[in-house]
């Protein structure tokens, strides 16, 4: 016996026996959830009871949003140019002013957002989104970093290539239609201040960067910029340069801080400068109020209601399933080898 204990003591020193720990033995305390019928039904019902109200609230919010959409790109081309739109839009001497009327369907409370909407304009096109220089926009020191801006990077100023500020296709194609709204012969004031993100005006666009050589090449893509105003104050440009995610998009033009009554007629006096005719794009003016969910969009509400409804349906189905075809949890008769034995 003595020998045995001696041996045991000795072997303990050199023993390779793995030290016991709950981790190495894979016995860490664990939560082992099993979704019992009760839990399954509860979770489906919970989803349903969460989603249906959210859906209803969203729909309600969306319904309360008043939205006026005025498409003007076709109406604003004079009769005589209808056959050759591109000659009209590219000629800087033609009169681009155009007048239209819109009616307010419901009372609109301030702030009322004025958007322009472009359809079929791929602001997310690969050639386009890459064509900008964020360094140049931010600081005058990086005026020459225009490498990413090709093909709108430099301007050939009498044989010397000078940088364009702001360079790139995005800036070059700046939207330049203008809107004036008149209600009962009184001009509605559209506030164009504060339409861009604060972060953009403060950080992303430099207050010491001034436009240079902008729109100087032969082919003009869009609006021009006042060279005496720094980029950080050019809010239209800043809004435009937040490239849209999708080919149909709106961009904020300004805000109206007075309310519009139902059945008010508003006269729109606009300058139809921007060329969307070359690619069959549409231009729309949009006046819209807003809610917590954003603009007028029923999709989320309907989606929530659908998912909630489906979950309710599933919960009912599972209740029926559990009632009519119950299976005790852990019932060994369902084990494959037991089923085989029964057969």
């Amino acid at each position: 016996m003595n020998q045995v204990t001696n041996g045991a003591l000795k072997s303990k020193k050199t023993s390779k026996k793995p030290e016991y720990s709950r981790f190495t033995q894979q016995e860490l305390p664990a939560w082992k959830p099993i979704l019992t019928p009760g839990w399954v039904i509860t979770s489906f019902l919970a989803i349903a009871f969460l989603f249906i109200p959210i859906g209803l609230v969203s729909l309600f919010a969306s319904e309360r949003v008043v939205e006026i959409v005025y498409r003007y790109d076709q109406d604003c081309v004079p009769e005589m140019y209808r056959g050759n739109v591109s000659a009209y839009i590219r000629n800087s001497r033609t009169n681009k002013t155009c007048i239209g009327n819109i009616t307010v369907p419901k009372k609109m409370d301030p702030p009322i957002f004025v958007y322009y909407q472009l359809d079929n304009f791929y602001q997310n096109h690969r050639r386009y989104v890459k064509s900008r220089s964020d360094k140049q926009l931010r600081s005058a020191a990086y005026e020459y970093s225009t490498k990413e801006c090709e093909p709108e990077a430099r301007f050939n100023k009498s044989g010397v290539l000078v940088p364009i500020v702001p360079c790139g296709l995005i800036a070059w194609s700046l939207f330049n239609d203008t809107y004036n709204l008149i209600k009962k012969d009184k001009v509605l004031n559209i506030n164009k201040k504060g339409i861009a993100w604060k972060s953009d005006t403060k950080v992303k666009f430099g207050s010491n960067v001034y436009p240079k050589n902008f729109q100087s090449n032969d082919l003009i893509g869009g609006g021009k910029l006042n060279e005496s105003i720094p980029l950080s104050k050019q809010e239209d440009l800043i809004v435009w340069m937040r490239t849209a995610a999708l080919p149909t998009f709106r961009k904020l033009y300004g805000k109206i801080n007075t309310s519009l009554e139902a059945h008010d007629t508003i006269t729109v006096v606009l300058e139809n400068n921007y060329n969307t005719y070359s690619f069959g794009g549409q231009k729309k003016l949009v006046l819209s109020t807003t809610s917590w969910i954003g603009g007028k969009n029923d999709f989320l509400g309907i989606a929530y209601l659908t998912v909630g409804g489906i979950c309710l349906f599933m919960a009912l189905n599972f209740i029926l399933l559990y009632v009519f075809k119950p299976r005790p949890l852990g019932d060994p008769s369902y084990l494959s080898w037991n089923r085989k034995a029964v057969n």
């Binding site: 793995p18 953009d200 032969d218 937040r242 999708l246 690619f279």
Partner: protein, 1144 residues
Amino acid sequence: MSLDDAQIVNVNNPQQLSSPDSTLQRQVLDLGSKRSRDSERYSSISMSHREINDGDARLVHVNDALKTNERFEFAGNSIKTAKYSLFSFLPRNLFEQFHRVAYIYFLIIAILNQLPQLAVFGRGASILPLSFVLLVTAVKDAYEDWRRHRSDRIENNRMASVLVSDRFQQKKWKDIQVGEIIRFSADDTIPCDTVLLSTSDPTGVAYIQTINLDGESNLKTRYAKQETLCKTPEKDVINGFIKCEKPNRNIYGFMATMEIDGKHLSLGPSNIVLRGCVLKNTNWAVGVAVYCGRETKAMLNSSGAPSKRSRLETRMNREIILLSVFLVALCMAVSVCAGVWLKRHENELEVLQFYRKKDYSEPEVDNYNYSGIGMEIFFTFLMSVIVFQIMIPISLYISMELVRVGQAYFMIRDNKMYDETSNSRFQCRALNINEDLGQIKYVFSDKTGTLTENKMEFKYASIFGVDYSGEKTNFEGEQRGYCIQVNGQVWRPKMKVEVDKELLQLSKDGNNSEAGKHIYDFFLALAACNTIVPIVVDTPDPAEKLVDYQGESPDEQALVYAAAAYGFMLMERTSGHIVIDIQGERQRFNVLGMHEFDSDRKRMSVILGFPDGSVKVIVKGADNSMFNIIDKTSKLDATEGHLQSYSSIGLRTLVVGMRELGVPEFERWQSSYETASTAVMGRVALLRKVAINLENNLEIVGASAIEDRLQKGVPEAIESLRKADMKVWVLTGDKQETAISIGYSSRLLTSNMHQVVINSNSKMSSKTSLEDALITCRNFLVPGGSVALIIDGTSLVYILDDTELEEQLFELASNCAVVLCCRVAPLQKAGIVALIKKRTDDMTLAIGDGANDVSMIQMADVGIGISGQEGRQAVMASDFAMGQFRFLVPLLLVHGHWNYHRMGYMILYNFYRNAVFVLVLFWYVLFTGFTLTTAITEWSSVLYSILYTSAPTIVVAILDKDSSRRSLMAYPQLYGAGQRHESYNSTLFWLTIADTLWQSIVVFYVPLFAYWKSDIDGSSLGDLWTLAVVFLVNIHLAMDVIRWTWVSHASIWGSIIATCICVIVIDVIPVLPGYWAIFDLASKGSFWVCLLGMQIAAVVPRFGVKMFIQHCKPSDIQIAREADKFGSSMELARQEIELNPSRR
């Protein structure tokens, strides 16, 4: 392993066994390289039948390194295991790393991305993942290599004593050259492969330990040739040369001839000591270097084992090909659409504000980045490959490696697979087949040492027809075994044996009675006819010494210990004589010759010169080989009867015969023995012929019965394996009766089984017996009836030789519950494994402990070595090694099952995770004029599979357990999940793909419709998609996690938090276009509504289907889990396997 387990192994070329058919044939010839277990025993047969011819030989001039190395063809003794030098590191390491297909794929994509036309990602983002992986691997390699450099330096600068101009001088190891004479002292490590010239022992014996070489700690004997013994290198000029084979990997074979002073000597493996061995119990030895440095056998053997690929991975690769087809299809779709779009807008491209084909800044207006529609389509295709690259989950390969390391960690650390007796943990030698352990269908097991302990104990003896199987005395208490007095010291055998009182008394009485005479012969034969070396070991008590019998065959050890217990104590053995203390009287016997054991003869013999001048040949061997050469007498019949009864209770038997040689016969034998053993050509065959001529007309001396106990837990383990629907086949070299009896005691065979026995001696008879067996088998194929097939090696020879018979055997065997193959040679073991592997898709596992199992272990899908009594060859060849057979149960049923489930789930999840991301990118491309813009930032794209989602899948694949250890052990049937491929199959793959499609649609289109016609910018929407996808894939994983430990919580929720942090960090860098987007986005209600809605809508179908299946078609695992949690017992209708009471 025993004498009758044929001891053959292919050390030479383990890879050869990998392809079954043709190689097997070749093997038979090639396998001349029979395993020499110790000393001179195998010198004659150790190399193959071929002899050295001049072209294949190297000529070593003794003590003349210059002449030897005239042509500078032999390597010096400096070794270089390090792979790289300072300069070669970068190119070589990169070259080696790029051997992996995955990295090449990475590289090609990264290179494509560098072309200006195709630059989708920025430089940094595109190179980061690859360079990260390369860097980590390179640092690891560099560290390992630095350690190798260090150990090389230490090794090369060790000192050895080398003969230089007639004096032994210290020389660094690296300067030793072939042909130099080296002198070793006790406990020196041998610096290179050296042929012994002389040793401190007058008979030229040197003891060496080969633990560094093969892990065996037994002392082995090596001999210097008599002719060189007397030479002192300092004084006598040794003129001569050694002609030996070219360097090879066979550490158990060596073949050479030495010509010295005009005499021609043959050298075998017992004359060479190998690099890495240690000289023990010998004061000094002198030898001549024949192989140096990298040409030494130790170095040639240091290359790794061939790697296997797991079944799951093979299946996975099939699906990866499918995924590449998807990838190509996606890319084709995008490029074709892009072509159509360009064609339709061909005339507008110039004025389109968002395209503008021409560059006006140069004086010459030229196209900018536009080279015609055809090229644009081509570029779009390549760009889409770059954007969608992670559709092929390259990171999966890296994750799998990490996961396997983690799984191996837990297997090694498992307390339940630690063996106390041998103090050994479980070992994972192959790191890439963990998951195969969960799908095993066939288990091929060796018997001796695997099912049994291989601790032989002498039990009974039948001496000259008299059975001595009486009651045993307990040696404790009464007397402390037999001991002798030597120079005032007490020597006693190290191991004590229970003795039969009657027999002990008779043997003490000595030659006085007739029976005593036979007993004398019997024990003398046991003590003499073997290759055991007695080593005297000190004990704490100076007056007492222990005699340790060192030898490789446990049977022989048991016999010698038994002889010692009965008063025949072997005290000394040299190549020329042995000294045996017989009842206190020391006697010296000359060993005049010895015929080694070989697997053809299945016996060994020794020719002994007695003190009285007579010469006797003593032969010991397996019964069937002995009965043919023993004269038929009534005693023989009686012995045969005893043997029957011994083996029927599972004992291993050996028969001993003896004959006195007359002078003429002795002289005739001696001359032919000498000619044969110095023959240059066909020495092996000649020696065997001499042996066969001598071994005949013997007189029966007796038979011994040795017990080899079953290992602990074997019957229970086998029962578990059988319940788990695994077929357990036992392949043994033992006799049929022994095998059957072990079969009963290990519950492999039960009394209600019908036994079909096939013992045939010809092809025809095997054919008929196979056909008969098939018919019987069909008759018994009713529920409840089962058939056990017992087949012997001779029949297998004929059957495995013929494809048609092989087919029949397979059909028969697959219908049998149990297959027992007895008397099979090692190659047949591999052949049987190959038979199953060829014909089914089922996974095979082979488990064994001895050198004779190596071929089988390498042939099977999973090879397991038992690190037991018999050396470490099986372990070296195996994929996994463990101490006890019963650990197979936790290994397969628990770890194997977990590993399989985890790996299968991880692969599917990785497919899903990457595909869902790629599809979101793809849907977006459809709304960008097919131009491969990604709303998701390039950094998020790159980090997605590296950081955002990698940790949880790895953690879950290492830690999650689909069922508890307790249930898995209690219900072995649960193992069926792996056999039925329940965790990974093509149905699951397609379901996953369908689910992926749905989830990607939800993730992409919900925001699309929600933000259509809104003023959202690309970066914000991109952030929304990034977060949505990462949340979704993590929630998806969370839904499938079964055990939530803190680690899984931390990894899953941690990943989500890490993603949020990364997205925020990316959005606070002002020079990126998406500056501040996430804050703007999160301030709006629609973002939160969208995010929540997407997650739920995406997972609801999966949840519903999963719950439905769980309720209506629950898997076994599911029920076990429920039972485990809610404590209901699963005892009902448990199948009882009838247990046969042990027949012992």
